[in-house]
Symmetry: C6
Subunit: 282 residues, 6 copies
């Protein structure tokens, strides 16, 4: 079996990749977000995608990168991410140290779209390092090498920001926010969300899609009653997938729409009522 | 004696191992957990096992890995665990640095089931690093190498989560939870728990098993009276084992069912009453 | 496409650069700031630029560096910036360690203007290391090498400081502040700000420039009603650029003047009213 | 004298040592602790020794290790102890890095009893790393090497735990405690404690031993009056040793039974009264 | 221009330097500080200079070092300064590590006066490492090398201390303070301060010097009304220098005496009134 | 002069040194401390010296080391001191790492008296590492090397402890304190203190010594009125030394007995009155 494992092992590839040919990722437009992004792109103004969890920000950016024909470099930020993780660092190689560009540096050089997902989570040096990239200078200082890089003419910086998550300790400084053009995202309308479901889960019939979306809309109303976060479109896709894989609808709803959302017994019961009301007959 | 020590020393082996042949680990199903897991596996949806200490989550996963014929890589998370511990790091080797894959990377490449036990304990970079593995991308970025890995088609990510332990400072973000299909675990029913005991401790007679389970059920009711945590099935196995090793039942109860559970004199007395009531005559 | 990427990659260049020939950066004087800076320069007194976000401090310094014919070395400070990041550090090279000057050391040697942007954010060792550079000694100690550097006769130290941002934990010590001549910056007058807009965005007509400036002045009045930070000149440039790129004025206002400034629904509505009042007919 | 120093220098030896031949360490049994330990040993169940400072937990384990004929590896835990200190780390050796097993790894391989003294003091990664050693897996993962070790069949893990010391921040998780069979230790009875004293301090007459023990019992009663910790058996051994070395009894009591226990003037006076009442005539 | 930059680059020199020949630094004595310092020097007692910001402590020490003919090694302390920064560390050089003395070690060996400026800011290991240098032992332990250094017979340790800055968390321990002879510094008298101004700024006429000093005395009275720190002599020198460089007196006052001292609008207005009252006619 | 500096440079020597021949350090006994220490030494019981700042603990230990003919290794502890600083660490040397013993390890091997001054300041791993050295085991584990050292038969561990300094966060655990025989130190009686002064400062006449001691006794009474710490014997030696160096008595009192003790104006005035009352006529 060890041979089997070796034969099938995951494929390594460069993080900077030209977009694949073809029609590109599926994306359902919700408003003027494509026009705003394209205007910002024309002037190379940095962009901030604002909006809640799982509302499609990442997918939108994959769609725009394909549409504009630019590579996309994504970095998920977290509280241990330092500027060195973005910019690069020296590594020992044989008898000397060699510099290895980080993902931001590579994107700056290659003219890629660089997506710093939830940058507010990163250490502050990471938010400061991008300042000179976001104004007329369009430069990335590599202070450890005594160099700076003038960005490729097609480089674009994009960050995401979830307004509900920030705390007093962790928030983007207003002076940083104003360095971006900002696009607001919300959950899609029921009609659009049902179309997304059908597109994501092959063979999902329209009625079940509509029922699942109806559950989400009811569940989102519980957010003011203590639910930490509304059901995301992703949760609906999971529920539909489990049903498509043969699981009874009520069990699929339990596993995808209730258990991941809450540990609270009463909230779970409220969600269960909603699920039953829409899926019991499915 | 030094020679003796050398001869018997523990065996080192790779952490990615094909499941052993044969009937696999013993597991008593409690509900639809096997069906849910198999549906998630068919769609390669990431899975979260929710439930209290010692209720059998680890054993369930060993059982499922054997049933599905996949290797299982387990990582116990803790608050000093960083993404480098999961993904890998550079090591000095002779005159150059070489990259060494971490356990997550190895599982991603080998198509193993990777089990991150109590991931909420880990540093936040560890929870962020798994995001691209849990959506349509199924990719693991190795940022320090400027690479990303497309997961093996059989790779599955599983995490565990104990709802009773989270604090304000340490909890999975709702956006992370919704990236998983979640299966709820509880303590097994008395009948099942007695069967588990008899299976684990060779020669344990049915009556003693039933008595021990009865103690646990009584003790679990004390949880609302200040006991930090209910008696686990593991504690019952320990008590039965000590009795099987020749220790008088009351002393076995003291050592396995009372002393490890509480330092409080009154709670210890309450537990002792329960133990005596069921084991004094054993 | 990979070849394309390589061909267009961003240009690396030394951070210490002689000013470009020509008329230099565009700058609209607001008061006596040029005279004060030149007097300080003549006596080589260190300078502190005080003022809010996006009011033109960086641009002013680029202008002065060009006017005085000195190279400009800028460092954006942040809470992980240590004195080693400014002064330099030892790196492994082949079989020995070599010293690499940091940006401050390079500026001190080259007689550049060194600009430490928001130095209060840096670690305290960074603010202490500049003390001997700011008095009659004009020396930079390289303690790790057991050396000190007598500054080039044309070296000048400039720092920036945003009075609104400091907290009890993060503030320049009075003893540090008094080592600088300080120039106060404010937002430009409406007339000057409109001129700046027209200069920055080619083809922007005077009326639209005036309207945008009027929005900013109204929005700045909201600062006492909970807005974290007033609209910067930069935001106006962004709005004008998006309009110039073909976006309808109201959508440009939404993306550049509302979304980046606030997540609060009511404040956003107040801003939206202001934007509509001035741009609806544009 | 330098030569003298070199000649008498302390002896280095391996931390894993076969027990010495002969009758082994002196130990006075207090209850069923030997039977419980032997039952746990027969089933290879991990053991937790609970009890206050200086009540003989370390000595008991030395006694059991000798009785069972296993090497004993002890590690005193502290808040800077990480899992690497237990498991091992890479060291540079010549041109490559070599792995060096930590004390836990060596015990696991050699089939020793590994004693983690006050493990609650260690960093949490240390408590998590032992989990797979304490259940049916009996494996120690060496994550940095991508290996795991199947424990030697004679390996036994023992930890100690002082119920009086834990705080909200530092306590073993209930899920960790339930992985152990626990043995409760208390201070020995007066009769046993006097026997211990006579055994430890050669030539100590029975009456003085009895007097010293009486002091300790009186002093322990002060614990509810502000004394941080009761007099340990060790303190009594010190007092007896100083008297045996020729110091007057009252001064020995001052140095061993009063000064180390409190800095409080009134508590010291109370202790002095107790000492005088029992030793003035000695 | 690059050639120009290289030709004029700052001069590197050893931090331990013999005092320059000639009359030495200008210093205006304020009381018996020279006599106290010389008496301490004769007995090699360590000295602490106490006093507020910018009152001339550094200048005094430069003067004394020249007067006594000893080299002066100054270290500005900060909260990231560790004992290794003072004592030295191992560096990689070729194939081995070499020890590099820190500035304190070099001063101890060379018999220099070592000045630790604001030592209370440094990490505590820095204040402890100097203890054996401040008593009869006069030794500096180099614990990392297993050595200690007997100080050169002319070595003298001097520290500075600003009584207004200490907090509960950051203060010299009384046991450390008592290891020093302490000299109190205050702002100079009006007459002396005017003389200092004229000496520092060539061509400054006596009347303007007197007016500037009068401003400082008025401003210092504001310290009880919320001003963080009184105007230092250094601020007066800056104001005089800007005037000498051609700036109108009121603007020089704004830049040197108001802006660096406060961000508070009302305090700034109060200072402005004082400046106007004395300089409007200048 | 550079040559001069090199010629006189401080002498490096090993930290483990045989005691010098001759009569040894001057020490004035205060009570039974010598007898207690010798009794502890005979039984090799670890010793704790308790007492306030500057009351002679260090000098006592130097005296005892000379009297017993053992080398003395002193380590001043501080909050960054780790067990590696005491025990040793690996250093790179040429192509391999070599172990370098720390001062504690060297003392353990050489049979020296090891003095850990204010050990409570050190990190907790430092206090735990000494546990096996303080009981019947007398072993020092070198965990990083997988070794342990059996202490030289003449090794003795001594720590100091200042009861006034401990806080809730920083205190020796009772279980650590009980591992030591403790000797209480106080300030010497007036008569003894005057003798110490005369012995320390050559040529000091008896009357001045008596007057200085009288100042200290008065000043110590101020401790209950807000003075952080009483005047130490060391301060008196400083005052006497400055007078011997020619400084007028009142100025010597100011520099040695007032300025180092307090920054408070009223306390300073109270101290000044005391000094004047005793020294004005001197």
């Amino acid at each position: 079996m060890r041979g089997l494992i070796d034969r099938l092992r995951g494929v390594e590839r460069d993080i900077v990749q030209a977009p694949e040919a073809g029609s590109g990722p599926y994306y359902e437009p919700q408003g003027s977000e494509i026009a705003i992004f394209e205007a910002a792109w024309r002037r190379r103004l940095p962009v901030m995608l604002k909006g809640p969890t799982g509302c499609g920000k990442t997918r939108f950016l994959e769609y725009m990168a394909h549409r504009l024909g630019r590579p996309l470099v994504s970095v998920s930020c977290h509280e241990d991410l330092t500027s060195a993780d973005l910019v690069g660092r020296f590594l020992l190689d044989g008898e000397s140290t060699v510099w290895q560009d980080g993902p931001l540096t590579r994107a700056v050089k290659a003219g890629a779209i660089c997506y710093l997902d939830e940058i507010v989570e990163a250490r502050t040096d990471s938010t400061v390092i991008i300042h000179p990239l976001t104004d007329h200078r369009r430069r990335l200082p590599l202070e450890k090498r005594g160099l700076e890089i003038e960005a490729h003419e097609d480089f674009l910086l994009v960050i995401s920001y979830n307004p509900g998550y920030q705390t007093v300790l962790k928030d983007l400084k207003p002076s940083t926010k104003q360095r971006f053009v900002a696009i607001d995202f919300r959950y899609p309308s029921a009609e659009i969300e049902a179309r997304i479901l059908q597109n994501e889960v092959e063979g999902l019939d329209a009625e079940l899609a509509t029922r699942l979306v109806a559950i989400a809309h009811k569940a989102r109303a519980l957010k003011d009653h203590g639910l930490d976060e509304a059901s995301s479109t992703r949760s609906l896709v999971y529920a539909a997938s489990l049903i498509a894989a043969g699981l009874p609808p009520l069990e699929a709803g339990e596993a995808a729409l209730i258990n991941p959302l809450t540990d609270d017994v009463e909230l779970a019961m409220a969600l269960r009522e909603i699920v039953k009301a829409h899926l019991a007959a499915a």
